[in-house]
Symmetry: none
Subunit: 421 residues, 2 copies
C-alpha cells in the first residue's frame, strides 16, 4: 500500500520547527510494510492544502495529514478536507459534548465558543476520538479510492491516533507483514558496528539490516517481510542472534528498550536500589531513570551537586579532595558516589562529574569527565573524553553512566578509562 | 521570491532521519524574505525526483534541492536534473582535477573511478565548488523561468553552499526581508490566547500572528515583511506590545527564550541563587536549569528525593508530616522547599511533589501535584491538578515549577491552587 505524508503548518515552512512527525510516521509505516514515495509540507492556506492533498491522493492509496486541527483561526485542515471532498461541514453533537467535558477536565473552565470548530466534521467523513487532547482526527474516503487520515500536529496526539487507528487499519488492509527487531548498543561507533556485520549486511535483503547512530548509541534494526508476523519473527531470530553475538556486551537491549529502561528492569530483577550524584548532567540521569513507571521501587534518589560547596555539604566530599584534585577528578567522582550511596541508603551509586562547556570548568577543558560507581562488592572509576557541544556532551555522559550501571548489574566487565563510549 | 525546498533521499522516507535540512534552509529563507509555500521529500528514484522538481519549478521561482549528489549508485539528483532539462551530461575536467586533489588531501589515496560521476554536469548548468566535501553543487535555469539549485544533503556541506552561493544570489534578487518576534506564555491555554487577540489576528496580515501550543506553553509569533529588517522590526513592535499587554503576566519572554533560560537570566540579574527539591519531576527541573551555559553561577543544586525516606533523611521533612498528610501534600512540599534551601544554602528553593502515574502514588491519584517555593521574604504553595500521561504530567509540572520561580523573581503575583497551568 502506497502512503503519502502531508504536514500542514506555516511554522514548518518558516523553519521554526523541524518536521519530526514525518520521520516518526515514516518509521512506523516502514514497519507495517507500507511504501512511502513522497512527503509534502504546506502552510496554513486552504487552497494550497487542497492542492497538496489532491496531488497526494492522486498517487497514493492512503494520505496521512498532520496538523491544522486545533481550535484557532489558523487551524484549517478540516476546511481544506471539506473543500477537497466538495461537501459542507456538520457540527457533531457528540463531539461538542466531548470537547466541553475535556475542557472542564483540564481545569480550563468554560470553553470558548470558537473551540466548537473542533466539533465540525465534513459530511461523509468519520472522526477519531482524541484520548489526550481536544482535537478529533478525521477520516475520509475520496471517490477516486484514496483514504485520507487527518491527525493533530502535536506529536503525542498524533502518535496516539496513528497507533490507535491509522496503523491498525493499514495493517488490516495489507497482506504482507513487516516485523523488525532492534538491538541497541552503546560504547561502540557506527562504523565499527557496520564493519562487524558487513558480510551479513551484504548477504541478506530479507531480513534486511539497517544502522542508525543517535545520541551516544547505535541501533541495529533487522527487518523481515513475510505473510505473517510469526514467520517474519522466525526469519529475524537467527540474524539477530548472530549480530548480537558479534557485537558482544556493547548490546544493551535486543528489544529496542531505552538504556534507562534496561537499568530499571535490571535493578528490579536483581532486587537492588540505585542513587545518583550528578554534577555535569545536572539531574539528567535521575530524570531519565524516573521516566520509567514504577522506578520508585528501585530508585532512591539523587543529589544534583552543581557547586563545590554542594559536593562537600550534601555528599561529604572532603574539601581537601577538591582543593588537591579539583571537582573533575577521579577522587571527587569516587567521593561523590560514596556520599550518594550513604545519603540515600542505596545498594549502588553512580557519580558523574565533568566539564560540559562551552567554558572550561575548574581549569578543566570541556569534554573531560569522570564517572564512578560504588556498590558493596566493588568500586570503579573511569575517565571519558568527549568532544562537541554542551548538549551532546551531557547526553553522552548520561549514556556512559547508565551503561556503567547496566554492565555492573549484568556482571559484565566495566570499561576502563579511555575506552570509547 | 517564491522558493520551494525539495529533499532527496530514501532514508528520509523510511524515517531513519528527520529532514532537519528543510528546517535550517527555511529559517534562512525567512530571513531573506523569501516565501516558502511547499516542502517536498522524494526517494532515490529518477522518475519521482523529476516529478517533484517539475511540480516545484511549476509553482516557485527558485527550487532548492538537497541530497543525492554523492559518489554512490543511489546518488542520482544530477541525472534527474539533466532529464528535467532534457540535456546530456558532460564531464568537467576542472572538476575531475578538483575531485582527485580533494581525495588525496583527505588521505583516502587514489580515487575510485566511480567517483568521477561527481564531475558530471548537465549541459548548460553551472556548478558550485565544494569547500569541505567532494560533492559539487549544481545550478540550472529552466526555460520556464525557475532556477534550480542542487546542494549536498550533508548538513555542513549544504550550509556552506547556501551561505556562500544560494542565499547571496537570492538576497540580490529580492527587496523584502522577513523578521519575527516570539512571545511565549505558560499558565494559559491556546484557545484563551487566541480569544484574547482574536481581533488583532483578524485585522492584520502584515505583521501576521500565529499560535503554537507545545508542552505546557503557547507561543505567539508575530511576523512582518518589509524592505529592511529595521522596518520589519518597527512594524512588529506595536503589535507585540499590544499582544503582551493583553496576555499580561503569563508572558514569560518576548524574545523566544526557553522558560529555564528566563529563570537563569532573572537569577543572574537579581543576584539570587536557586535550589530544587524534586520528587515527581525526578531531576527534570535541575536538568533544564543546568542546560543553560553558566548556570553554575546561580544554581546551587537539587535533591531528587524519590522515596519517603529520602525526603526525611536528605531534606529533613518531619516523618510525622508524611505520616499525617502523605508525600503529596502542601505540608510535605513546604518542608521539602525549606530543606533544600537550607541544605544548599540557596536564596530561593522550589519543591515539586506529586503523582505522575500511571498508578496512584501514596493513595493519591495521578496528576495531583503540590509545588512550594521558599525565599527569605516569602513562602508559597499551590496545588495543581493535571490529566494525561506520565510524560505530559512531568513536563507540565516542570513548567509550573519554573514559572513559579520566574513570577517570584519578577515580583508578580504567585498563582493560587487550582489556577490552570
Amino acid at each position: 500500500v502506497k502512503v503519502e505524508v502531508v504536514a500542514v503548518g506555516t511554522e514548518l515552512l518558516l523553519g521554526q520547527i523541524a518536521n519530526t512527525n514525518a520521520r516518526w510516521i515514516s518509521e512506523r509505516l516502514a514497519e507495517v510494510g507500507a511504501d512511502v514515495e513522497f512527503h509534502q509540507t504546506v502552510g496554513d492556506n486552504v487552497t494550497r492544502i487542497v492542492e497538496a492533498l489532491r496531488s497526494a491522493a492522486g498517487r497514493a492509496d492512503v494520505v496521512i495529514v498532520t496538523g491544522g486541527l486545533g481550535p484557532t483561526q489558523d487551524d484549517i485542515t478540516r476546511d481544506a478536507l471539506a473543500q477537497l471532498l466538495g461537501v459542507s461541514m456538520e457540527r457533531r453533537p457528540d463531539l461538542v459534548e466531548l470537547l466541553r467535558e475535556r475542557f472542564r477536565a483540564f481545569g480550563h473552565g468554560e470553553m470558548p465558543v470558537s473551540n466548537l470548530r473542533q466539533a465540525d466534521v465534513p459530511v461523509g467523513a468519520r472522526y477519531i476520538v482524541p484520548e489526550r487532547g481536544t482535537a478529533p482526527g478525521l477520516v475520509a474516503a475520496l471517490p477516486g479510492g484514496a483514504t485520507i487520515y487527518c491527525v493533530p500536529g502535536v506529536p503525542t496526539e498524533m502518535q496516539e491516533m496513528l497507533e490507535g487507528t491509522v496503523l491498525p487499519e493499514l495493517r488490516a488492509s495489507t497482506s504482507a507483514t513487516i516485523a523488525s527487531r532492534v538491538l541497541r548498543c552503546t560504547g561502540i561507533g557506527e562504523s565499527r558496528v557496520a564493519e562487524l556485520v558487513a558480510d551479513l549486511y551484504e548477504a541478506t535483503t530479507n531480513p534486511s539490516i539497517a544502522f542508525l547512530a543517535t545520541g551516544g548509541e547505535v541501533k541495529v534494526r533487522i527487518t523481515a517481510k513475510a505473510p505473517s508476523t510469526s514467520e517474519a519473527d522466525r526469519a529475524i531470530a537467527p540474524i539477530a542472534e548472530e549480530v548480537a553475538g558479534r557485537l558482544g556486551d556493547v548490546v544493551f537491549t535486543r528489544d529496542d528498550e531505552e538504556l534507562h529502561e534496561v537499568v530499571v528492569r535490571l535493578l528490579r530483577e536483581r532486587g537492588r536500589t540505585l542513587a545518583c550524584a550528578e554534577s555535569i548532567t545536572g539531574g539528567g540521569v535521575a530524570e531519565r531513570v524516573t521516566r520509567v513507571p514504577g522506578a520508585s521501587a528501585v530508585f532512591r534518589g539523587g543529589a544534583v551537586v552543581y557547586t563545590p560547596d554542594a559536593k562537600v555539604d550534601v555528599l561529604g566530599v572532603p574539601p581537601e579532595v577538591i582543593e588537591r584534585d579539583g571537582v573533575v577528578s577521579e577522587a571527587c567522582a569516587r567521593a561523590m558516589a560514596a556520599g550518594a550511596r550513604r545519603l540515600f541508603g542505596a545498594d549502588v551509586a553512580l557519580a558523574l562529574t565533568g566539564a560540559a562547556g562551552p567554558e572550561p570548568h575548574g581549569g578543566v577543558e570541556p569534554g573531560t569527565v569522570w564517572l564512578a560507581l560504588e556498590a558493596d562488592d566493588l568500586t570503579h572509576a573511569r575517565r571519558v573524553d568527549l568532544t562537541g557541544e554542551r548538549d551532546r556532551i551531557r547526553r553522552w555522559v548520561e549514556q556512559a553512566g547508565l551503561d556503567l550501571v547496566r554492565r555492573y548489574l549484568e556482571g559484565r566487565p566495566l570499561p576502563a578509562s579511555g575506552r570509547p563510549i
